[in-house]
């Protein structure tokens, strides 16, 4: 078996091991299952004389490795944490993430001695705290409830929540200089948007350019979910690929190719940090880098390997992502949907190859493909299925890249002079008012409520989907002649 195939299966099995252990299966069960699988592969491999199956037998060990790695990771994290829960205490810490500012402030605080670990502090909107602020708190840290939410926070490294503690600033500037600078750029960009647009449009623009959702009203969040357009404000490959193309085009003539390559990498890294390194952004950035690298080195890039190794790399850094980060799961699934299901849809619907006005055919395929892939997960997590998703997306998606580009240009212009950004504000207002009215319109139709989804049903669905994709993957020659 070739090296890149071994790598693919190894990474894949490792991921499954991580996932299964995170889902609560006991370590011994996983060892037993891996051994069982290994033996089956061994038998089949020797009977069929298939070397590949023999290899798979050996690689079954990686199920166990994945589970073990997760267990060790969690254990280590638990050892590093020391918090007194449920009591009124005085504690201090440093703000280590860009604060979320909505109706109030949400700060991620790394605790200082005598405590250890990270907690989420919920405060009034004012006085305002920033990244790098060292704060002295007086209040109660409690364990997050319910269990689902606790695990969701844990994957981000947060072990407790403190609601409206008393907070006093001790000192500023205790964070990393680089992040401080990048966050300053982000804050400036958001401020410019807020100055040239009404608050809801500014919030939406902040969402599609930087994935910043803390300023969203509950109505907007609900409308996005009901119309199936939330992904527009969850940064993904869209933004990264636009960024890469834009940078390459502008730098391409000015500097040497090698320099342009590294500069692109640096800018992507900066963008990822600036936007808070959400799972979907990191995934897109890593995949973009892998594909860029492949181009540089001159080897044909295998999509299958790129996506698996990206997932592997991310899970290595944080195994809890696989099971508990919804954004991680959705972004990978939608990418798979767009890459594999979309072409099958295209063939099934017999769409022409020409992308069409505003690339409508391309968008239709991609939207349907992504929806097919993520729907079971949406039902599982949110209990609803947005029926108007395809319509809403088709009307909005074509304009989003323009909106994003105009947004970034407005931010750039605004940093030079506020007055330059004003006309950009008018153009953005037209685009955003249109997009928001579509989202609100489709968002008012009740999404189909599906109370529960059984795991076997979901797996069955995916099996059928895989079958559909395979069926339309390659048509035999005789169909063409019909």
């Amino acid at each position: 078996m070739r090296l890149h195939d071994i790598a693919f299966y190894a990474a894949g099995f490792f991921l499954v091991g991580v996932f299964l252990f995170s889902s609560g299966l006991s370590f011994s069960f996983i060892v037993a299952a891996a051994a069982f699988l290994g033996v089956i592969f061994l038998f089949l491999g020797s009977f069929a004389r298939a070397k590949r199956l023999l290899w798979l037998a050996g690689l079954s060990l990686l199920f166990v490795l994945g589970a073990f790695y997760t267990a060790a990771f969690v254990r280590l994290a638990e050892k590093r944490m020391y918090i007194t829960f449920g009591e009124q205490i005085t504690f201090s810490g440093i703000v280590v993430q860009y604060p979320e500012r909505g109706r109030g402030q949400r700060l991620v605080v790394r605790l200082a001695e005598p405590y250890a670990g990270e907690v989420l502090a919920q405060l009034r909107p004012f006085p305002e705290f920033s990244y790098g602020d060292k704060i002295r708190f007086e209040g109660v840290i409690r364990k997050p409830e319910p269990e689902q939410y606790a695990r969701h926070l844990l994957k981000d490294g947060i072990s407790g929540i403190s609601t409206f503690p008393r907070a006093d600033l001790v000192s500023s500037g205790n964070g990393s200089r680089v992040r401080q600078a990048l966050f300053a750029v982000k804050r400036e960009t958001l401020r410019i948007f807020e100055r040239i647009l009404p608050s809801e449009e500014a919030a939406f623009l902040s969402g599609i350019t930087l994935g910043e959702r803390s300023g969203f009203s509950t109505e907007l969040t609900a409308a996005l979910a009901a119309s199936g357009t939330t992904h527009l404000v969850a940064l993904s490959g869209y933004n990264i690929s636009l960024l890469v193309v834009a940078i390459r085009k502008s730098l391409g003539r000015v500097v040497a190719r090698r320099v342009a390559f590294f500069l692109t990498l640096a800018l992507i890294a900066g963008f990822v940090v600036m936007t808070g390194a959400a799972a979907s952004v990191v995934r897109a950035a890593l995949m973009g880098t892998v594909l860029l690298l492949a181009q540089e080195v001159g080897r044909p890039s295998s999509f299958r390997n790129a996506i698996t190794l990206t997932a592997f790399g991310m899970v290595l850094a944080n195994p809890l992502l696989a099971r508990f980060d919804i954004g991680f799961q959705l972004s990978f699934l939608s990418l798979l949907g767009i890459t594999y299901a979309a072409p099958a849809v295209k063939r099934a619907l017999r769409l022409k190859d020409d992308p069409g006005i505003l690339a409508w055919r391309e968008n239709l395929m991609a939207t349907i493909g992504a929806q097919l892939a993520v729907s079971p997960l949406l039902i599982l997590y949110f209990g609803t299925l947005p029926l108007t998703a395809v319509a809403a997306n088709m009307l909005v998606i074509a304009f989003v890249p323009w909106t994003m580009t105009a947004g970034f240009l407005a931010a750039g212009a605004g940093m030079l002079s506020e007055y330059l950004a004003i006309p950009a504000g008018w153009l953005l207002h037209l685009l955003l008012a249109y997009e928001l009215s579509v989202i609100r319109f489709f968002g008012q139709f009740p999404a189909l409520s599906i109370a529960s989804l059984y795991l076997p049903a979901a797996l069955f669905y995916y099996a059928i989907l895989a079958f559909f994709v395979a069926a339309y993957a390659r048509r035999p020659a005789r169909d063409v002649l019909r």
């Binding site: 109706r103 909107p125 004012f126 006085p127 305002e128 807020e194 100055r195 608050s199 009203s217 008012a433």
Partner: protein, 291 residues
């Protein structure tokens, strides 16, 4: 010559922008009426005044950021400029909203009574004023703001009141005369300051912004008899812990013949004066304010 696709998109975009600009020019004429918006900002005060000719004044901005949502409803979406913002006195439930207002809007001038606030968030306001570069104007009793045919007289505070131990007593009190309508904005003043004003000025008004969210220590019988408002509006938050507005105040207002409106029940209240007629409407409760 075949027009390339990108040029078609560009021309369409340009045409739309053109229509938009002309629409704004033709249909966006300045107001002829005087409109007062008593904004629903929760437990706090904020009033937005639109004068004939288009000048806009924001008196107080409530706590937190609620004022932004209300301003979005009241202002045209392309209007990012407010002529004057006025802080009656530096208490949190009056000044906090200005932090976001100064960040999001271009402002002509920031008017205050000169006192410094003690709340922790006041430093955020000072920083926002500094960063915006907006000129600060300190006004007191005897000052006047004239905008076109309208004028706002400052009836209080005197220098002694600003320096007193009670921040509420130092609040700026404004009497607005515009389009034949007289409106009185009282900040958080108590009965003592009310008596002082009664003795020095003619305060008969059509609309009254009820002092201190309807507290029973304000809106005295004598004061209300002199103002004799047709419309009285109370800026108050749902289920507030102060018991505002006090039942005694409500009965005094009714006895004075005023029609009472309150932001916790009526949402943002709009009072319009045009051609000698006064119209009041409630824009209704927006989405519930969650703390």
């Amino acid at each position: 010559m075949r027009i390339p696709r990108w040029m078609t998109s560009f021309l369409i975009g340009f045409l739309l922008l053109d229509l938009f600009v002309w629409g704004a020019i033709l249909f966006g004429g300045p107001a002829k009426a005087t409109t007062l918006y008593f904004l629903d900002v929760g437990q706090g005060d904020s009033q937005f005044i639109e004068l004939p000719g288009g000048a806009q004044v924001l008196v107080d901005a409530g706590p937190g950021k609620g004022v932004i949502r209300e301003l979005d409803r009241v202002l045209k979406s392309t209007d990012r400029y407010i002529d004057l913002v006025l802080l009656t006195h530096p208490q949190m439930d009056h000044f906090e909203g200005f932090i976001e207002v100064l960040r999001r809007y271009r402002v002509g001038a920031f008017i205050s009574n000169g006192a410094r606030g003690t709340a922790k968030s006041f430093s955020n306001l000072e920083q926002a004023v500094r960063e915006s570069g907006v000129p600060i104007v300190v006004l007191g009793e005897g000052d006047r703001i004239r905008i076109g045919e309208s004028r706002m007289d400052v009836l209080s505070p005197s220098p002694e009141l600003v320096l007193s131990n009670e921040p509420n007593d130092g609040a700026i009190v404004l009497l607005l005369e515009s389009n034949g309508m007289r409106s009185l904005f009282t900040g958080d003043i108590g009965a003592a300051v009310e008596e002082r004003i009664v003795n020095r000025y003619n305060i008969r008004s059509d609309a009254l912004k009820v002092a201190h969210h309807g507290s029973r220590f304000s809106s005295s019988r004598e004061f209300l008899a002199e103002v004799a408002p047709a419309v009285a509006v109370i800026g108050v938050g749902h289920s507030n812990t102060y018991g505002h507005p006090a039942p005694e105040t409500l009965s005094r207002l009714t006895a004075a013949g005023a029609r009472i409106f309150r932001t916790d029940k009526d949402g943002t209240v709009r009072v319009t004066a045009k051609d000698g007629k006064l119209t009041v409407s409630k824009t209704g409760k927006g989405p519930p304010l969650r703390e």
